[in-house]
Every structure is written in C-alpha cells, then in structure tokens.
C-alpha cells in the first residue's frame, strides 16, 4: 500500500512521515538488531578467530594465519577425526534406536486405555530431568564396583561389566543413557502426529481386510511421515550437540582415552582447558558446517516425502 493513501495528520513532522514511509523496516528493526548482535556478530567473530593463532588469552596479541588452523585440524587423526567418528556414531545409533523405540511406544499409547494418563506421565519423566543430574545418577548405577547395574547382572549370573569405566564400553553406555532420556521426546512428537490423523483411512483398510502390519506400513506410516521427519530433525540436531550427558559421566576430554570425546566435548576442551581459542573456533566452525549440512540434507529429504 503506498504511503500517500494513508491519512496524514496535519501536525506530523518529518520524523513521523519518514517513519510512516519506512514502516516495514521500523517494525522489523528490533528483531534485526537482536539477530545481528546475538547471532551474526558472535558467528562472525568465531569465523575470524578460527583464522588466527589466538591462544592463552584473547586479549593477548594474535596473528591472522588464514586457513592454517583448518589444515591442522582436518589432518589431525588423533583427536579431530576420531571425535567426528564418535559424533556420527553416537548420533546415528541413538537416533535409530530412539525413533524405532519411540514409534513402538507411541503406537502402544495411541488408543485410549485405563490409566493412560499415569502411564504417559511415567514415560515422560526422564525428559523433565536435568541432563547433568541424569548423568550423575547413571554414573552411580554403572559404577563397576558398587553400582546397581552390576548387582542386577549378578542376580542372573552375569559377571560385572566395566560400563562407563571401559575403554570400549563407555560410548555405548552413554548411548544407552541418551536413549533412556530422549526416547520420550520422540514419543511425544509421534503421539501428537498420531492423534491428529483421521480414523477413516485406517477403517477403510480394515474393511478391505488389511492386517495390522499392513495397516501400519501402508496407511499409518505414510500419513505420519512428515511428523517422523520432524522428530528425526529435532532429535538429530540435539544428538549431534550432546554435551551434558557426556561431560557429566566422563568429564573433560571424554575420559582418559578420550573414549566419549565428541566434537562438542573436544571444542570445549580446546577452549576451556587448552585455551587454544583459534583452533577451538576452527573445530566449532567445522562442527557448525556439519550440523548445517545434515540439517539441509534432512529438510530437502522432507520436501521430497511431502
């Protein structure tokens, strides 16, 4: 709408007229300033830091060194690439298990039954617990000498397992904790999707004589697909960035053999333990690109599915 068609009070000065003519900028300005200050500036600063040799203190002198950090990080096969591998393995496994398990639980909770409310509340409990507290709790449960897990295993005649203490068992154990904590979120999302589906297609399939599996595979699942993708997207980004559970159970560096060190834990160690702000920013930038990349891959896939 052109500004001239609006009624302009006679007493207005130049400022009002200007504001009136630039309404769309004016109203969007607070949000734009907010984005610039809190998102664009820190990201730009990180990009800049990632190309410097900042170390020890960001107030000390540092040099612009171009892509040297990137070369160093991308050729680092002792810490960086294993961390990438662990991040991918962690995300892949927990995502797969959480979506399959979440789908099963959501289907069980879909139809109304007695005591439904209580079951739902019980299932959602892990979700509302603080991840650090969850980490501490599981650390006690999985203690190799006095923990509950090994006691229970002892009852059925299985010997004590190292769990979080083992070089090879630590990462799978943290996956287990993550699955315990975050499957309820997948359930929640899928359940919301399921309840919004109409009953007619399912009833029609039932009349046509489709089995329960066929009804799920060819009716419910395709209709639910957009919700599944949303669940994967949300959970996937979150799983990639997991920090609290890993840090609370294994501490700095992800254990003495870096056995649960994912990219996030590595970047944290680089900046807060090693004070290598330049290299840390480089790792964070690469991590950022990985997240954006997987997000893009998933969303484009989502359009494909509809």
């Amino acid at each position: 709408m052109p500004a001239s068609t609006l009624p302009t009070p006679a007493a207005t000065g130049g400022w009002s007229r200007w504001a009136n003519a630039h309404r769309k900028w004016l109203f969007a300005a607070p949000a734009m300033v907010f984005v610039a200050v809190l998102i664009v500036f820190p990201v730009a600063w990180t990009v800049y830091l990632s190309m410097t040799d900042a170390e020890g203190s960001v107030r000390a002198d540092f040099q612009f060194i171009g892509f040297a950090n990137y070369v160093q990080v991308l050729t680092d096969t002792t810490r960086f690439w294993p961390a990438v591998g662990r991040t991918a393995a962690f995300t892949g496994v927990v995502l797969l298990v959480e979506v399959l398990l979440g789908m099963a639980v959501a289907l069980l909770l879909w139809r109304p039954f007695r005591g439904e409310k209580w079951v739902r509340v019980a299932i959602l409990m892990p979700l509302v617990a603080t991840p650090v507290a969850v980490g501490m709790m599981w650390r006690l449960i999985f203690d190799p000498n006095i923990g509950l897990a090994n006691t229970v295993l002892g009852w059925v005649g299985i010997g004590p397992q190292p769990w979080l203490a083992g070089e090879r068992t630590a990462l799978p154990t943290t996956m287990l904790i993550d699955v315990w904590q975050w499957t309820p979120m997948v359930v929640l999302i899928l359940l919301a999707g399921l309840t919004s589906l109409s009953d007619e297609p399912n009833e029609a399939a039932l009349i046509d004589g489709a089995s329960a599996w066929q009804r799920f595979r060819f009716v419910t699942l395709p209709l639910l697909m957009p919700t599944v993708v949303v669940a994967i997207l949300l959970r996937g980004i979150d799983a990639l960035k997991t920090f609290d559970i890993l840090y609370a159970t294994k501490g700095k560096g992800g254990g003495s053999f870096n056995e649960v060190e994912t990219l996030n834990v590595y970047a944290y160690g680089l900046s807060f333990d090693y004070n290598q702000y330049g290299v840390s920013s480089t790792v964070l930038m690469l991590f950022f690109l990985i997240i954006i990349g997987s997000m893009w891959a998933l969303t484009s896939r989502r359009k494909e599915i509809g």
Binding site: L38, P42, R59, P131, E167, D244, K250, S256
Partner: protein
Amino acid sequence: MLRQSVIGTSLAMAAALGLAACGGSGGQSTGGSGGSSTLRVTLANHVWTENIKKALPEFEKQSGVKVELTQLGEDQLSDQYNVKLNAGAGDLDVMMYRPLQEGKLFAKNKYLADLTTKVKSDSTWNWADFQPGPVGSTTYEGKVVGVPIITEQEVLYYRKDLLQKAGLSAPPKTLDELKAAAAKISAANPGVAGFVARTAKSAAVTQFSSFLYSYGGDWVDGSGKSAINSAPAKAAYALYGSLIKDYGPQNVSTDMSWPEAMAIFTQGKAAFYTEADSLYKNATDPAKSKVSDTVGFAPFPAGPAGSKPYNVPSWALGVNDASKNQDNAWKFIEWATSKAQTLANQEAGVPGARASVWADPKGTATFPKDLAAAIAVSTKTGVGYDRPVVVKVSQAREIVGQPIVDTVTGKDAAASADAASTAFQKFLDTEK
C-alpha cells in the same frame, strides 16, 4: 544446560570484548584508594574457604569493607576465570587460584596484579615467614603475584587393621615393601584391594609425581628436554600402573580423581592409598569414612632415590590486575593470610604455608600424630612441583599422564613412555 554454555560463553566473550574496548582508556588510572567498599572475592570449594567464611564478619567489622563472596567447584572456577579474565572484567577482585595449574598462564597474560611492594610493606604480617618453596611458585619473573594459602605433600594413607592382620608391624618404608605388602593383603582379603590411587589421565599426574621423583626421575632433564622416557621414569610408570592393575580394585575405572579413589579407601575397600595430605579429613572424619578409626599415615615410601614426595602450594590468593579495588583486595589477603587465620585454618586441618605456624606446637596439635610426623619429613625432602612446570599445564598433564592409564590398563609401560616422551618433546618445543 551445559551444552549451551559454549555458545553462551562465546557470546559473553564477544560482548565483553566490545565493552572492554570501550572502557579501556579509563581503566587502570582509577585503581587505588578510591575503590568501592564492596569487595568481590572468588574462592574455591575447600575446607579453607569454609573457615574463612565463618570468620568473615570479623574482617568486615574491622575494615569496613563489605565482602561479596562467590564460591565455586574447581572446574567451574577455572571456566569462570577463563571467561572473565579473558574479557578483562573488573568485577573480580580477590581470586583463589592454583599456582601450579594456572599461575604461569595467568601471570604471563598479566591477569595477576604485581604484589611485590605490598607484601613487603608490613613487617608484622611478615612475608619472610612464608615457606620458600610455595613462594617460588607464586613468583613470576621476579614479581610476587600471589600469596600461598594451602600447601600439600603426598603421604601414604594405610589401614592399620589390615596391616596387623597380614602380620606387618609397620607401614612400608620403601616402594618395594609397599608392593609386597599390597600383594599380600589383596591376596588374603578377597574384595579388598591392596592399593588404590588416582587413575584419570590428568588427575593422576600429580600423585604419580612423587613416584617419579623417588625413582630418581623428573619430567624434564637439566637441559629442558623431555625425560619421561628415562629408565627411572619407565620404572616409576610400571610400578604405579602395576600397583593398580595387579593389586587395585576390580574393573578399575580410568576416570578416578581423588573423590573416587578416596571413596574406595574410605569404604574400606583398599589397604594403601597415596594421596595429598590436605585431604586427610575425608578419611578421618567418621561422618565421611567407615575406616576413620583404623586409618594411619606414613611418609611417602622411598624409591631408589629416597623418599621424594612433592611439597607444593595447591592454592594461593591473587588480585585481578583489572580490579579497581586493589587496596581493599590486599587488605583482605593480608587478613586471610595472617598468622592468626593461618593457625585457625591449620587447627581445622588445612596445612598452610607459614613456617612459624608449623613451628608452633598448636599448629600441628589437631593433626593425627603420624600425619604430622609424615608432613614434617615431606617438607624437608619434598620437591616444589607436582606436575610439569609449563604454561600450558593441561596439555602437558594429558601427555605425561598417558603412560599411567596405559599401564593401568595393561599396556607396556616402556613403549608408552617412549611414545609419550616424543609427544612431550614436541609440546616442549612449542612452549618456547
């Protein structure tokens, strides 16, 4: 949530950098007597802090300064300093810090104010009373940047009842005797480990250092080259690893720092434990320990080079260089490190750094007798550092700690020490 803290901190850093740039010009000149009457003191969670907290009203009354106390766990404290000092924030006045962990880095970055003239200004407070070892660690390039408050020596914690049961009349005097006794006790008592100590890569380094020195080894040799692959060092790694692997707890975790190792000892699940003496209250306090009445203390057992435990200042007080309240900050430090406060703290079980308090019978009256004797021995033969003396301590600890976890998990000590030494030499080259 923790995972947001990385982003959050970079935001804070970025914002603070902007602010620092704006306010830079006026900063230092306003420092001095015109400071605010509210003093911001940041302390670590420690028995020392609890004692000082109780006495604070006395300081506030006598000086007219209001103290705003922040108390944090060790790791959180480090992170807090990292963010605030990096940003040049002036809202930290007095800082409790670890001279051997962060001291060199902080001093190099000029985070710590020069206290040289201040410590020498008051002869009744008496700077000369502080032990020379600890003072060396709070001095950087000839300038005093901190006042040591807590000292630590490594001693041997042991279980009198288990020793008696095994027919041993006295605690082991040498590391070989320690190994034999640990083997004997663990074989005779199923479910009880002969020996326990820290196993986490970085945390174990300080407690391993006494083994290294007692074998005649060191982190670097006289010419500044890595020495962790020397024959004594390899033997020390092999012994420490084998004590835990062969006679330690079942399914031993490689993530144990002192709380975990101490828990095993105080639950009655281990016979010997090498640890810092400053933590002894955890073992002797019946509320925390099941073995409070059977725990004994002995000097660190001798190796081929004698008994050479570390004797270090674990904590010190410094003043933030960007603080605008430096005079009041010094008043606080002077009070908190006074003879009276040091004695009060030592009576509560925190070993201090003042020679006169150690000489005073009251200074050791509350310590278990055998512990006081062990400390007296350690302060004579002790080595003044318990980790490599470098700027980037965290990295160095991880490198030299690798052979510890390797041997604990059954890998070859010599091969691991060789690999670690190569990495350590590379690290030392970047330090120059």
